[in-house]
Amino acid sequence: MGEKRTDLLRGTLDLLVLKAISLEPLHGVAISRRITQITRGAFQVSFGSLFPSLHRMEERGWVEAEWRSSDNNRRAKYYRLTSTGRAQLKTEERQWNQVVKIMAAAVESS
């Protein structure tokens, strides 16, 4: 179930989750599916990591949750970015880009 990969990329999970809900509010299962989709199937996030991450970010005030009906009329908890969450997403994207650039430069230099 991609355990190893999520381990490797622990720091990036928050970024992926924030990215996943940046367009529209989603519930837990949908966030997992969206991440699989935007990483073109590379990451399948375990729910054991996803839900703790969501709750952590809710506490930090990056995301907000509300109950509403899902597509097929079932109630589900939807997560939505807050304004600080949006700022956090920007910061994390910037940091990630820096890491990528630095790592790329480092790898190429040798």
Binding site: V29, F47, G48, F51, P52, H55, R60, G61, S70, R74
Partner: protein
């Protein structure tokens, strides 16, 4: 920050709601997944199984979420604390000064509180339930009441009231334990049989008194845990053993629990005897005499009954009693008043409940001052951390996070200070005992660091953290990162000297320390005035010693005085039933010939029972008439001497000689008028006293007064030897069954008088040390702020000097800054002092609460110290070499 707090609350308080929401969320996820699987073609049950497998188990996920939430809080907190420790470790000097300052402030408060705790809050050690106990006073409230009730009055009140669940009566006095090794003088109580039941004390060995023992007691005694330990080797078989008290045999029937030492706050009682035994022991018949007022009475209120209701109830009864027995209640007001034990007129609380809260107030001011000091240190330090904090704010730390971090640092400082304060307190709580002077009274005053005191200490620590931490944290976090980073590049000055907050704190520090110093000054000056006041006798070179009076005391006394006066080095010697300024002087109800008392006027007057030549020996001058002589004995005319205050009150403008005073039905003729002398407390003004000859009185405790020609300490042994020598020839020694007869409290008059100003000395000592600490703290405060501001202005000063400013100009510039703050502080402090020192009024002697010399002297001291504190940095600033300074910048 607010969201974090909300979620913290949600986690802690709304755990169940949170668990439910988590359960709902996971169940809905399982359903969403199940539907997905069903669309993929699984049967419903298979789909659900697949869904659960993909989710990884509902309970497991829940556990992960819980761990993540709980973990974050702990993690954040642990990180803040780690970070706080690191930040403090980086500036150990700052941390040490801050912690020590706080520790002093906190220790002062918890020490005073430990005393309040063991006296006002726990008036009867060993008893937890004292809030519904009241002391019953008859007549005027006084700081030194005579026991106000006769046994028969007490019994009528006890048996007929409807508001009390119990009413106990007791009388205490010295008792002599013999036949058990060295004779020992103990403090014993004659009590009503319900004494232990009303207090709720259950003996740890044996029993208390049974109700029948009120009327027909056997010779039984209950001893204290302390006496059991010290005189009976904690022997568990002590119950049933016979001991001799005042030469009468008694059977020990019980031992009280450890801690319990009677119900008279501040005095330790060693043993208890049923009060009906007064007849056998003292040969007097007080229990049968309605006019003999000798019992202290305490009551326990019935549940739901207010003290006012009980007071009304008892007053109605007392009125009826006084009507039924008018002759027994003449000349003594019968108004009854109830007091809770914390301010009861019986015991030391009557003094302490005024002194200790004042000292606690002063200690709180000291703590405020300590907080202001540390707040200022924090501000100064934050200037050095501006860059660090600006960077943290710039990279996205919230202001809340920065404030929290700074508050955690403050908390660490405060808790460290509180910890050290607790260590200090293990010593300081016991210092109250150092004030216990050499006195025959079994004083037992001390503080104890119990759980309540420790909790209060922790509370004080948290309070200080809040007081000194909040403002600096808020201010520090409010900086504008961009401005700070720009400013660092090359501003003229660092900005602290412009800080109103730092200035305001210094002004606060100076005004608080002025207030403390003025209080200290007032207490010290008042004590000085007391000591220089006219006490009416000469306390120098006088040895005191007590012995047990027995029926043959007349002959014994005469022999002893003769023996002493023939001893080389002895100038004169006499006897008395009290010694001055030692709380040993008694009072009695009298009738004054030719004087008609006002309704409800108390005729309770201080009485000294004294030997021949008392006034010449004490060097208390006689205004008219004569001294007592050896001839004022049993067969002669009954005589009395009164003091000037007595004459002023009862026979103003008349010749007192030849007038008469009635005491206990016997009329005494006045043969002398003496100058006023102080016998109770130095702080009291002159009070009426009448004196009776010792050799015309019944048995009474006797204190030998011997004036010697040299150092009285070197005569102490000789005086004790003289008593023993006279004793050896009398039947007394065989009565005591001991070769060495009991001589007690051999001391000097000057030492024993320490009790006469104990509470003032106590207040002056602590107010004085608080004032001294305040001065030190204020000095450090002014120095710190001026020095720091000056260092920040180095560049500015260098430019001024480069442009031609002289050293003197620079000196003046810096000193003026300190002076401005000082004067502002003095202004505020003087106003506050005038407003607040009025609370000291009742504690002062010979000075007003706005004593101008104190106010002026303290202001001058504080100003000069402040000037010195600003002069040091000023001189350093004036030595700056502009070229070096500017190049360095």
């Amino acid at each position: 920050m607010s969201k974090r707090i909300v979620s913290l609350f949600r986690n802690l308080l709304r755990k169940r709601a949170f668990e439910q929401a988590l359960e709902d969320e996971l169940q809905s996820s399982v359903e969403v997944l199940t539907q997905e699987k069903m669309k993929e073609g699984f049967s419903q049950s298979a789909a659900r199984r697949e869904a659960l497998i993909e989710l990884g188990g509902v309970e497991q996920v829940k556990e992960e979420v819980r761990a993540a939430r709980a973990g974050r809080i702990l993690e954040d907190f642990a990180r803040d604390i780690r970070f706080g420790f690191r930040a403090l470790a980086k500036s150990p000097g700052f941390a040490a000064v801050a912690i020590l300052t706080l520790a002093l402030g906190i220790a002062a408060n918890s020490t005073i509180f430990s005393w309040i705790n063991s006296t006002i809050l726990n008036p009867i050690p060993g008893i937890s339930h004292t809030s519904d106990l009241v002391t019953v006073m008859r007549g005027e409230r006084s700081e030194h009441p005579t026991p106000p009730f006769s046994y028969l009055d007490y019994r009528d009140l006890r048996d007929n009231n409807r508001s009390l669940s119990g009413l106990l009566g007791f009388h205490h006095d010295f008792m002599y334990l013999t036949g058990n090794g060295e004779p020992a003088r103990l403090w014993g109580a004659l009590t009503s049989a319900n004494y232990f039941d009303v207090l709720g004390v259950r003996p740890i060995l044996g029993r208390g008194f049974s109700p029948e023992e009120e009327q027909k007691p056997g010779s039984v005694v209950v001893i204290s845990y302390g006496l059991w330990q010290s005189h009976f080797g904690a022997d568990r078989s002590v119950v049933g053993k016979t001991i001799a008290i005042d030469l009468h045999p008694y059977t020990i029937i019980g031992v009280t629990p450890p801690g319990f030492q009677g119900c008279f706050t501040g005095l330790r009682t060693d043993l208890w005897i049923p009060l009906m035994l007064d007849r056998e022991v003292w040969g007097s018949n007080r229990p049968a005499d309605r006019g003999a007022f000798w019992l202290n009475v305490y009551g326990r209120l019935k549940p739901g009954v207010s003290p006012q209701q009980a007071e009304g109830d008892l007053n109605q009864l007392m009125e009826r009693i006084a009507e039924a027995y008018p002759e027994a209640h003449q000349g003594s007001p019968n108004q009854i008043s109830l007091d809770p034990l914390w301010r009861s007129p019986f015991g030391t609380n009557v003094y302490l409940y005024k002194t200790l809260p004042l000292l606690q107030g002063l200690a709180l001011v000291l703590m405020l001052l300590a907080c202001a000091n540390v707040a200022n240190l924090l501000l100064v330090r934050s200037m050095g951390r501006r860059r660090e904090i600006a960077i943290r704010l710039a990279v996205g730390a919230g202001r809340g996070q920065v404030v929290r971090q700074l508050l955690v640092e403050s908390l660490l400082l405060a808790l460290a200070g509180g910890g050290i304060a607790m260590l200090m307190m293990t010593w300081t709580a016991g210092t109250l005992a150092h004030f216990d002077p050499a006195t025959p009274l079994p004083l037992s005053l001390n503080g104890r660091a119990d759980l309540r005191v420790l909790l209060i200490t922790l509370g004080f620590s948290l309070l200080t953290a809040l007081l000194f931490g909040t403002l600096p944290a808020w201010r520090t976090s409010s900086i504008n990162p961009v401005a700070v980073i720009k400013e660092e590049a090359g501003s003229i000055s660092g900005g602290l000297h412009k800080s109103r907050l730092a200035g305001g704190l210094v002004v606060g520090q100076i005004s608080l320390s002025l207030l403390l110093l003025i209080c200290a000054g007032l207490f010290i000056r008042s004590l000085d005035m007391e000591r220089r006041s006219d006490i009416g006798f000469d306390p120098n070179r006088v040895v005191l010693a007590s012995y047990v009076p027995l029926p043959d005391h007349l002959k014994f006394g005469r022999d002893l005085l003769a023996k002493l006066e023939s001893t080389p080095g002895v100038e004169s010697a006499t006897l008395a039933d009290f010694s001055p300024l030692n709380f040993t002087v008694h009072t009695d109800f009298i009738e004054v010939g030719g004087y008609v008392p006002q309704p409800h006027e108390s005729m309770e007057i201080s009485l000294g029972v004294v030997g021949p030549k008392y006034f010449s020996m004490m060097k208390t001058g006689l205004i008219s008439g004569r001294d007592f002589t050896d001839h004022d004995g049993p067969g002669a005319q009954l005589v009395a001497i009164v003091n000037q205050a007595f004459v002023d009150r009862f026979w103003p403008g008349q010749d007192a000689l030849g007038k008469r005073i009635c005491r206990s039905g016997r009329w005494f003729t006045v043969v002398g008028v003496a100058r006023n002398a102080k016998y109770r407390r130095l702080i009291y003004g002159p009070e009426p006293v009448f004196y009776l000859p010792l050799f015309q009185d019944d048995r009474t405790p006797v204190i030998v007064h011997v004036r010697v020609s040299g150092d009285p300490r070197s005569f102490q042994l000789q005086v004790a030897e003289a008593i023993r020598a006279v004793d050896a020839g009398s039947p007394r020694s065989s009565a005591f069954g001991s070769t060495s007869s009991p001589v007690f409290d051999v001391t000097t008059l000057e030492d024993s008088m320490q009790l006469g100003d104990i509470f003032e000395r106590f207040a002056a000592t602590f107010a004085g040390s608080f004032g001294f600490l305040a001065l030190a703290l204020a000095t450090v405060g002014i120095y710190g702020v001026v020095a720091y501001a000056t260092r920040q202005r180095t560049r500015e000063i260098a430019i001024r000097m480069a442009l031609g400013a002289k050293r003197g100009d620079v000196l003046g510039l810096v000193v003026a800054q300190g002076l401005r703050l000082t004067l502002a502080g003095l202004g505020v402090g003087l106003v506050a002092s005038v407003a607040l020192t009025r609370f000291l009024r009742g504690q002062l002697f010979g000075v007003t609460s706005t004593d101008p010399p104190t106010f002026i002297a303290v202001s001058l001291i504080l100003t000069s110290v402040a000037l010195l504190a600003s002069y040091i940095p000023a001189r350093r600033a004036a030595k700056v070499d502009p070229i070096v300074a500017l190049r360095y910048e």
